[in-house]
Amino acid sequence: MPASAVSLVAFLGLPARASALASRVDALFITQLVVSGLMVGLLLALNLYFLYRYRRGAKVDRRPLEISEWKIETAWIVATLVTFIAFFFWGARLYVDEEKAPAVAYDIAVTGRQWMWDVRQPNGRREFNTLHVPSGRPVRLSLTSEDVIHSFYVPAFRMKQDVVPGKRVTLWFNATREGTYSLFCAEFCGTKHSAMIGEIVVQSPSDYAQWLASDATPQPDRLRGRELFAKYSCSGCHDQPSAIHAPSLVGVFGSSIPLDNGEFVRADETYLRDSILQPAKQVIAGYQPIMPSFQGVIPESDLLELIAYIETLNESTAPTAADAAHP
């Protein structure tokens, strides 16, 4: 970028640039500003000049123009069109590039809900309203919402993605500068929309690895969860294939469950808890209420780990024979 543009950045107080994309977006934006500025300047100059020179009473030549109006009109139509199309291509190019996530990326799951960002790191570590990422490598966020539309916005990355209930979308970036940056919710989502903010902490890969391992809060452990799943004989019925007609729990978390009374419930944590403790309360359509209640059988700590385990079950983590053999 030319030096003048850089000082313009400083002057305008543009936000920090902390991703590979940021300076490319800024370059485009500043070019547009400069072209627009020139345009406004030109129009302003012309208008002021005409206003002064052709003011009523001034003795000036007011005969009609000789050039055909059509030629002039065509000229500026073509000129604007060309400028606009150029900007279109530039912007579209960047956008399309940015949509294609690199094949290898580091995956982090983010859930938006009124009014917090719930982050799950690859090793299962959970954090709220803060997202730690390593610098210098592509990170891919997989985003979804549990209630209304939110929008994951990091100005320093020049990145934003709406988070829509009912679907999972991805967003990737390559953080280039270590530091702490603002995270905003940019889509209006209710009372505390303006409080749904947080921080992105970009760390060097080694610091990040250390942070990930330092894990102060006890985190649900997948293997331990699986152990409990077997210990309380859940796996006997719910692992597929099974002799007993019980629903598979793979991917159940967060999905919408049809009940035998025709209603639907969202399989959130409350639902999972209820289903374990009072299975007869909500029975999935097409199944018999044969599951025993575990009220008083499973202590709270185990219950939490079990639920956490069920939440992690999806196509790729579905229990395998090795898992099953583990305990």
Binding site: P258, G262, E263, G286
Partner: protein, 213 residues
């Protein structure tokens, strides 16, 4: 412009032809807005049907094919009578106009009767979207279908009711000689509306009733 002043004070027009053309143009423009009004629903329907073909087919089969088909015929016939009424009105055949208009209205009422019977059936079968919706063995999107079904046919029925009111008004008018003599174009204007509402049903019928066959 020097006709009887009282008459001309009432309208901004120079003559009856201009008035008539303006009325027709206005009505057609109004129908264009109606196309987009219903069009919003049709677009939603198309998107969801395209996304969830199986659920829509399954849900559609719960509709009563025969009532739907008969109702289509009823509406088409009512449209015929409407067109005949317009013809009679132009021929200044007042009695005939009245009869045709009444027949149109009668058929419209038959249509609505059948429609409400269908709604009642759906109520009994727990197919009205909401907390009491029950459709065992169907994916959740079946409820989308029924929501659209009620929204689309309900809106159509509302239009039919407005049409019936307009017809009732016209029938009363035909009993007033002064009105008939002035040769108002109200019959053809209401006719345009009635035919248009008919056309909406022409599309609703295959989309809703035949989707799963």
């Amino acid at each position: 412009m020097n006709q009887s002043t009282t008459e001309i004070e009432e309208t901004p027009y120079v003559d009856a032809t201009q008035h008539r053309e303006a009325n027709h143009l206005g009505m057609w423009m109004f129908l264009a807005t109606e196309i987009l009004f219903f069009g919003g629903l049709f677009s939603c329907y198309s998107i969801y049907r395209w996304t969830y073909p199986a659920a829509f087919a399954q849900a559609s089969n719960r509709l009563d094919f025969w009532i739907g088909t008969i109702n289509t015929g009823v509406l088409l016939t009512s449209s015929l009578f409407m067109a005949l009424a317009d013809l009679a009105h132009h021929a200044k055949a007042v009695r005939l106009t009245r009869i045709h208009l009444s027949l149109t209205a009668l058929l419209g009422a038959v249509f609505l009767g059948l429609k409400f019977y269908e709604y009642y059936q759906k109520y009994v079968e727990h197919l009205i979207p909401g907390p009491h919706f029950a459709f065992p063995d169907a994916p959740p999107q079946a409820q989308l279908f029924f929501f659209l079904y009620f929204a689309m046919t309900g809106l159509h029925a509302a239009h039919m009711i407005i049409g019936l009111c307009a017809l009732g008004w016209l029938v009363r008018r035909t009993t007033k000689p002064a009105w008939t003599a002035r040769h108002s174009d109200a019959v053809s204007i209401v006719g345009l509306y009635w035919h248009f509402v008919d056309c909406v049903w022409i599309f609703l019928y295959p989309l809703l009733y035949l989707a799963g066959r």
